[in-house]
Structure formats: structure tokens, C-alpha cells
Subunit: 207 residues, 2 copies
DNA sequence: ACTCTCAGCGTACAACTGTAAGCTAAAATA
DNA sequence: TATTTTAGCTTACAGTTGTACGCTGAGAGT
């Protein structure tokens, strides 16, 4: 009943996932991973892989889920910071996201690449995670600003797209160039906030 | 002197490039291509590949250049349309871009994927092409609106990012969903124009 | 205590990969 | 015309990949 068996299984399953994440890097994407190498790094025989996943695909989808989870935790953390430290919403969010890219770069790389990757299932999975992200931001905007749901969504989508993309570029930058990039995104987010605000005010006048 | 030799060489070189583009698809990215398959489709022996390219990498970089060229031609076409048909700048640009995605989806896919791909050289090459794109738009904005160079650049960067990203999503959509997506991007671009305009006006007041 | 389940192993194989070496015939050059 | 150059070929090899098959030994269930 203690489940020594199941516990060990869970452990090597996690070892596989971690091995796979470890092998991701700037010049190694998920589709370059081989089942055998992952198994090797996890310390099991190649054929034992199948005791845990049907496929490399199945492993990958699990990894996408995990990365999405990290992303959502991150967002919650950003909201806590905003509430406590009372910093600017835009600034805090962008800085938090940049930290995600540094601390969990391989998880970010997975999302980034598989978003336009080779498997429809992967693309859909990433799109789902990103959509969560967008929706949470949209709800926030909707409650903070007087703003109808549709505009809030469109606005959030734009913001997430820009931040996500800046993250992708940031992966290849350091130091000053990176700071400049960060500054540019912040401006871009301000544009959107302003612009959306304008259109919303106009809509309200009509009503 | 006629160069029958060089002419034939150029021809099979192009055949290799086209074969490679043909093998790209929704579920086949450049890194999945094998030298042998490309050679096979081009109708030459695997080892003859090396008479034209040192590497698959070299082929790929050539392909990125070609895709970038197509992209720039597209942009010129969009500007012509705007000048002649006198349509809205934003609308025409977005529609033109969506056409690019349909007509040259494999070229777009290459840019899209290698932008966050596995090779730094590729990423740099794509970034260069995109930067061309941004700069041309920035010049346009700078001349059309009263707008300093930096704001024009930041604004263009945001717009290109959003359109590019929407293109990526459009690849998996059809019909109504796609139209909705197009509509959303157009809104997002309007936000940016408005928002940027606002900040620029403010800057001008100070000066 | 006895049986069942199953995570992990080793072996094996066919498919494919990139690429080295050397030949050939035709175009270019002298 | 004689010589050189070279695009493309064939053959060959070593490496890697996914995965089928069957075994084993230790936990789980009774």
C-alpha cells in the first residue's frame, strides 16, 4: 500500500522529463532530441522509456504542460509583486517575465519553439497555455479599467504577443542591448494601453 | 564562353533549393530535412549535393535569403497598392501579408521557425530580414507622420511583431476564425498608432 | 506463502543518416 | 587538338535511430 513501486516509477518518469529539459539549449530543440539520448541521461535503458511514455511526442506534451504551469505560477507571482511592492503594472510584469526567461530558459525555449513547431498537437498545446495567460491578463484589465471584454482581450493578446516575442529576442542578447530591448517593449505596451484607452473612451461616448 | 556548364550548375542548384522548400510543410521543418532526401527530390546523387553547398546549413541560409527577398518584394507591392488603390495603410498591409502567408507559406514557415531555431546564424539571418522590414516601415511612418526616428522604430517593431505573429497563427486557421484574427490584429495596430501618436504629441508639446 | 504485475534490462534488426574516395564524361581552356 | 576542370555518379562505411521480443527480479495482492 505504501506504493514503493509507484513512487519509484514516478521518480524515473520525472528523471526523463528533467533529462529532456536539460538537453534543450540554444542549439538543441525538442525535435533534435532522441529517445535514446534522453533515456541515457535519465539513466535507464532505451527500451524502458516506453514504460513511461508511448512516444517522444507524449513526453513533449507533458513538458509543454509543465512549462505552462511554471508560466502561470510566474504570473501569479507578478501579481503579488504588483499588489505588495506597488510598482507599475507594466514594468513589474515585463521584469518578471524576463526573469522567467533567465531562470527557466529551457522551459521558455520549449514553448517558444513548439509554438511554431512541427506538430499540430504541440502548437495547440502551447496556444492553450498562452491563451490562459492572455485571459488572465484580460480579466485583470477588465476589472482595473473600464473596458469591455472584447477590447480587453484584444489588448491583452497584443501585450502578451509583444512580451513573448521580446523574450525570444532577449535569449540572444546581453547587457545593454537587452536593457534597450526591455525599454522598447515597455514603450510598446504603453502605446497599446493608451491606444486601447482612447478607443474605449470613444465607444463609451457613443453609448 | 557560353557557359553551358555554369548554367546547368545554376539550374540544379536552384533545383536543390526548390526541393528543400517543397519538403517544408506544416509538419516538416528545415531541421527535419535530410541531405539525402533533398538530393533525391532534386534528382541528383546524395554526394553531388556537396558540389553546390558545403552543408545543409549553407543551403538553409540561402533559403532564408530567398525568403527575405520575397518578403521585401511583397512589401513594395503593398506600398504600390496603397499609393494606387488608396486604401487604408493598415488594412492593405495586413491583407497583403496574409496573402504572402497563403502564396508562399513555406517561405514564411522557414522564417517563422528559424527565427527561434537551433542555429544562431539562422536566427541572426532571419532577424536581419525582419529588421529590414521594420526599418522600411519606420521610414515610411517617419515621413508620413510627424514622428521622431526612435518612436517610429519602436512603433514599427511592435507592428511587425504583431503582424508576423498573427501570420503564424493564421497558418493553422481557416475561414471565420481567420477573419476574426485578422480583425483583431487590425485593432491592435490601431491601438499602437493611436498610442504612439499620443506620446509623440506629448513629446512635441514639451519641446 | 504463492501468484501476479510490471519497471527495467539486453539483444537484435532494419532503416536511415552524413560523407569519404575515386571514376567518368563532357565542357572549358590553352 | 591536347589538357585541365568539374558536376555528377557509384560504392562503401561507420554511426545513430526507433522499437520488437523476451527475460528477470522485486514489490503488490491474495
Amino acid at each position: 500500500m505504501s506504493g514503493v513501486r509507484a513512487q519509484q516509477k514516478q521518480k524515473t518518469r520525472q528523471a526523463l522529463i528533467e533529462a529532456a529539459f536539460n538537453q534543450l539549449s540554444a542549439d538543441h530543440s525538442f525535435s533534435n532530441l532522441s529517445l535514446r539520448e534522453v533515456a541515457r541521461e535519465a539513466g535507464i535503458a532505451p527500451t524502458s522509456f516506453y514504460r513511461h511514455f508511448k512516444d517522444m511526442n507524449e513526453l513533449g506534451l507533458t513538458m509543454v504542460d509543465e512549462a505552462g504551469l511554471t508560466l502561470r505560477q510566474l504570473m501569479r507571482q507578478a501579481r503579488r509583486r504588483i499588489a505588495n511592492d506597488g510598482g507599475s503594472v507594466i514594468n513589474t510584469s515585463v521584469v518578471t517575465f524576463m526573469e522567467f526567461i533567465d531562470n527557466s530558459s529551457n522551459q521558455f525555449r520549449l514553448l517558444l519553439r513548439e509554438r511554431s513547431g512541427t506538430s499540430k498537437a504541440f502548437r495547440a498545446a502551447v496556444a492553450r497555455e498562452v491563451k490562459h495567460f492572455i485571459l488572465e491578463l484580460a480579466h485583470y484589465l477588465e476589472s482595473e479599467t473600464k473596458c469591455d471584454a472584447i477590447h480587453a482581450y484584444i489588448q491583452s493578446e497584443a501585450m502578451v504577443t509583444l512580451v513573448f516575442n521580446a523574450g525570444a529576442e532577449a535569449l540572444d542578447l546581453e547587457g545593454q542591448q537587452r536593457d534597450e530591448l526591455t525599454e522598447r517593449v515597455i514603450w510598446q505596451l504603453r502605446y497599446i494601453t493608451r491606444g486601447a484607452g482612447h478607443y474605449i473612451r470613444e465607444t463609451n461616448k457613443e453609448a
